[in-house]
């Protein structure tokens, strides 16, 4: 299985993505969000996924995937130890630390280790097993020495012209194990990994990329990144763990409601990019990659239930996760909905967390090895019985 994590950085507003459309919480929601509420009538109305909840109108593709039972929503997820700091929350989620400092490796790296220890039909003989698409290594892959960071496959070489082969051979020796014993071993390792990646990607000959299956990626960060990822996956270089970031969710002002604004634009991009990504992979021939990929979307926290006076929302607590792809029992909302009345909120302000994010990541990553291996994936975590998500 290929596990793809899409992390929405900045704290994505849960209640704008999955809004209550009926029942008592609709009233609480409308009271708290006089200008930001997603309407339930008109051209920008919410897209129903159950009798009581609907997606943001810009998330049309997500609604379709939900109806096709490929996409599952998990509500009121998050950290059991509350924090309203982006950086604390992201660090804790990505490393699985229960204090804001402590665990110093990323959960996706641990996933990779566990996945490789598990029996499977085909063993990976390639060198690229984990990758982050972007310019920086996210903490989900912190201290994972197999993780690459790839920004773009075009120009994935050292631009050395006719001396490039000489230079690469020279670099291999200069950063070789015993060549500079006085120097830090860390630098040898990380430079050598880069040289390996250049070899690997060169031999797969990426060239220009045309998506298949009629997939049309939207422009923008997430579209470009998922497109690069699809290209990498089709090269069949043995990827198992992928981290992709999408920034810009810290909507303290002018986030917009159903019709327009920053949130609508971004959720539209995300939704369109995920749709294109699946189409692209589903059409990748026999043993399609689409049938082997499992995607999880998450964010560090949800936002304050009550909107602020600047057409935005401040940092909150409970959020959501999306799961789709291989083996996911979609078309269903998982998790206990805690409600939006004042006494049901965390500190009378934020959506409560009723599902530990670690439960969901463990189920998606481990499947039927949940009970035995979740404590290895997230040290100190004792899983609940599986929710049936996979």
């Amino acid at each position: 299985m290929i596990l793809v994590q899409i992390f929405l950085r900045g704290g994505c507003d849960t209640l704008s993505l999955v809004a209550p459309i009926d029942g008592p919480d609709r009233k609480h929601y409308e009271d708290a969000r006089p200008s930001l509420k997603i309407p339930i009538s008109g051209s920008n109305k919410a897209l129903p996924i159950t009798s009581t909840f609907g997606f943001h109108p810009a998330a049309k593709a997500l609604q379709t995937l939900f109806i096709e039972k490929r996409l599952a929503v998990i509500q009121a997820t998050g950290l059991m130890r509350p924090t309203r700091s982006h950086f604390d929350a992201q660090m804790m989620i990505e490393t699985g630390a229960t204090e804001n400092r402590g665990q110093l490796d990323g959960w996706l790296g641990r996933y990779l280790t566990l996945s490789q220890a598990a029996p499977k039909a085909i063993h990976n003989s390639h060198s690229i097993e984990a990758v982050a698409i972007g310019a920086q290594l996210p903490n989900s892959l912190l201290a994972c020495n197999k993780a690459l960071v790839v920004n773009s496959l075009s120009g994935f070489d050292i631009a050395g012209g006719r001396f490039q082969e000489d230079q690469r051979a020279a670099l291999r020796r200069m950063y070789g194990e015993n060549s500079n014993p006085l120097l830090n071993q860390w630098i040898n390792q990380s430079a050598t990994e880069t040289l390996n990646a250049i070899d690997e990607i060169e031999s797969a000959n990426p060239g220009a990329y045309s998506p298949t299956g009629g997939a049309q990626y939207p422009g923008g960060e997430i579209g470009n990144r998922l497109k690069s990822l699809a290209q990498l996956l089709k090269m069949e270089i043995g990827l198992e763990a992928i981290a992709i970031d999408m920034g810009g969710w810290d909507t303290h002002k002018y986030q917009g409601n159903g019709g327009e604004g920053q949130f609508a634009r971004m959720i539209g991009e995300l939704s369109g990019a995920v749709e294109a990504f699946l189409k692209d992979l589903d059409s990748s021939g026999k043993d399609s990659i689409g049938s082997r990929v499992r995607v999880v979307v998450l964010t560090e926290f949800g936002r304050r239930v009550k909107e602020n006076g600047n057409g935005g929302t401040d940092h909150g607590h409970g959020s959501f996760m999306l799961a789709l792809g291989q083996g996911v029992n979609g078309g269903k909302i998982y998790g206990t909905w805690p409600g939006l009345s004042s006494e049901q909120l965390f500190e009378r302000a934020d959506l409560k967390v009723t599902t530990d994010y670690r439960q969901i990541l463990s189920e998606l990553a481990l499947g039927d090895r949940l009970m035995s291996e979740a404590p290895k994936l997230f040290p100190g975590f004792v899983p609940q019985k599986a929710t049936g998500l996979v």
């Binding site: 924090t83 631009a159 050395g160 950063y175 630098i187 880069t194 920034g247 006076g309 600047n310 500190e347």
Partner: protein
């Protein structure tokens, strides 16, 4: 203020400097001979062994954007011993205004960066009001037949001109300025008070933020710096405080003020009840909680930017009392009475934060990490923090903290491998060491920015990371290596490479001699034996490495050979 050696030593004796073993001898074996412009500093320096490189290279490596023969010569001319030269160097660098910087200023003038010296009102008028006026005009006017269509993008380009011109000037200064420590500190403080410069309303006023806030206070007083940031339109826009008002509080800035600008995440105690924070009752809480953030946000209501037509639309800081929350508050255990005079609530918050020992520790930890090592010792951090606290009222508080850090034994005696060059440092060091004639062209910036460290291009308020693990990733390596080849290939607009001219004085231009010369020139010390062999082999291409190369082969091979030095292990570290 003139440099006074006694004063430096005085601090050492009185403060923690002495306790750290400073001035007890740093084990520098020899003074580097003054180097001529076109000769290596010295062929006799010891090879790169951990902890024993000459002091000049450590100082230039960690406190500047990289050595050059001229910088080594200037450093060595400052004192009869390396230690004495270091003292003079630090003292001179900590007073940047007294250093003549004509060459650099001339280069900037040549670029014609018109926004750089405009005051706030002018920046706002020219890069915010004017593009908006043109945009409205275009909307109202019928499209002219035959005229090229005007795009929305063009107006946005106008708005970000001050940000892009600041970016260009920053490159020039990093490469050419004599005020190198000030430049490194400017980068540090831009990371610390990070603003994404290229969109929003902060772009038109970014030149002001760089000039009047960051550069002006980088060696000044932290409390004054903090207030300059808090009142800067760029930060007010970037972190939304310009819309923070009593009826509609917005806590974005207040939160990052605590978490990133002052106390830091180390001192965040989460969503706890305030009264349970140790020290709360004594008005001296150990750290802060969400409650403090909320109340600080109330204190900062009404801190805005004048964007109103009726008030002159000056783009400057404005306090609007009717938007201020006038009732009593509690921040960090202190009671703020109701109905305080204008600005008082916010200024008191800045006072409390600037004086909290947690802030001193957080700031000094980051400074030590920038200048000394990824994991500086706790004793160094604490000693620096004590100076930060003791000198909190001094107008040159940050200068005194920097003097201490740069004079510390830990700064100068650590191994050469403590700080990995980030992409920006790598590129600047390469341009400096190879003596390129440089202007930051669009083509150059497009290539560089792929490495993930565009100046002022980090979107979230935490700034670019500063540890090697964050920059030792595939993309950062690959783009560093690519950039070395592309620059030395000599085909990038704005980068004039003159490698053959610089080594033209060598009497025998053999692969071995060229490799040795360029190794020394790039590193300030010899290449390691195996790297020397690799560079020599690349130049020789199977021929006798001791025989002179014909000019055409030098022309073809020297670029890739020098690029290979830039890709080698030794070049990756900041001294």
């Amino acid at each position: 203020m003139k440099f006074s050696r006694r004063k430096v030593i005085g601090i050492g004796a009185a403060g923690a400097l002495g306790a750290l073993g400073e001035l007890a001898g740093i084990g520098i074996p020899l003074r580097v001979e003054a180097a001529g412009k076109n000769s290596p500093p010295s062929p006799h320096l010891p090879a790169n062994e951990k902890g024993s490189q000459p002091l000049v290279l450590t100082v230039l490596g960690k406190a500047t954007y990289g050595q050059t023969p001229e910088a080594i010569e200037a450093f060595n001319g400052l004192g009869s011993t390396q230690v004495a030269a270091r003292h003079s160097f630090i003292e001179a660098q900590l007073h940047p205004q007294q250093i003549s910087d004509a060459v650099c200023e001339h280069k900037i003038t040549q670029l014609g960066l018109v926004s750089l010296n405009k005051d706030l009102a002018k920046l706002w008028a020219d890069y915010f009001v004017e593009p908006n006026r043109l945009k409205d005009e275009m909307k109202d006017a019928p499209p002219k037949p035959g005229a090229p269509p005007v795009k929305m993008k063009d107006f946005n380009q106008m708005k970000i001109q001050p940000a892009m011109e600041t970016e260009a000037a920053t490159w020039i200064r990093a490469v050419y300025s004599q005020r190198q420590v000030h430049e490194i500190l400017t980068e540090f403080w831009h990371d610390h008070f990070n603003i994404f410069a290229y969109d929003g309303n902060q772009a038109p006023v970014f030149a002001h933020f760089d000039r009047e806030v960051v550069r002006k206070h980088a060696l000044g007083n932290f409390r004054e710096f903090l207030e300059a940031v808090a009142k800067s339109p760029a930060m007010l826009f970037y972190l939304d405080n310009f819309v923070n008002q009593s009826s509609n509080p917005n806590e974005n800035y207040a939160r990052e003020l605590f978490e990133l600008h002052t106390l830091g995440a180390d001192n965040y105690l989460g969503t706890e009840d305030r009264s349970k924070v140790p020290g709360f009752a004594q008005k001296n809480p150990l750290g802060y909680v969400d409650g403090d953030v909320y109340e600080a946000a109330r204190c900062l209501t009404g801190w805005r930017v004048d964007t109103g037509k009726n008030t002159g639309e000056t783009g400057s800081f404005a306090y609007v009392d009717q938007f201020h929350d006038r009732f009593q508050k509690i921040v960090l255990g202190r009671q703020f009475p109701e109905l305080q005079p204008p600005l008082k609530d916010g200024e008191l918050v800045l006072d409390l934060l600037a004086e909290h020992p947690g802030t001193a520790h957080t700031i000094c930890k980051k400074l030590c990490r920038r200048f000394v090592a990824d994991q500086p010792s706790e004793v160094l951090i604490r000693s620096a923090a004590q100076i930060f606290i003791d000198k909190r009222k001094a107008p040159d508080q940050l200068l005194q903290v920097m003097r201490f850090i740069l004079s510390s034994a830990e700064f100068s005696s650590g191994s050469a491998e403590q700080k990995l060059r980030r992409p920006f440092e790598s590129a600047v060091a390469l341009l400096r060491a190879t003596g390129c004639e440089f202007q930051p062209s669009e083509k150059f910036l497009n290539i560089f920015n792929r490495a993930g460290q565009r100046r002022f291009g980090w979107r979230t308020p935490d700034g670019y990371p500063d540890t090697k693990e964050k920059w030792g990733n595939t993309t950062a390596w690959l783009e560093k290596w690519r950039l070395a080849n592309q620059l030395m290939g000599g085909k990038i607009e704005g980068v004039k490479v003159q490698l053959t001219a610089i080594s033209d004085h060598l009497s025998v231009k053999s692969p071995h001699a060229l490799a040795e010369f360029w190794g020394n020139r790039m590193l300030g010390m010899p290449l390691s034996p195996n790297a020397l062999k690799e560079v020599t082999d690349l130049l020789a291409q199977g021929r006798d490495p001791m025989r002179a190369l014909p000019p055409v082969q030098i022309e073809n091979r020297l670029g890739p050979a020098v690029a290979l030095i830039a890709m080698s292990p030794q070049f990756q570290w900041r001294g």
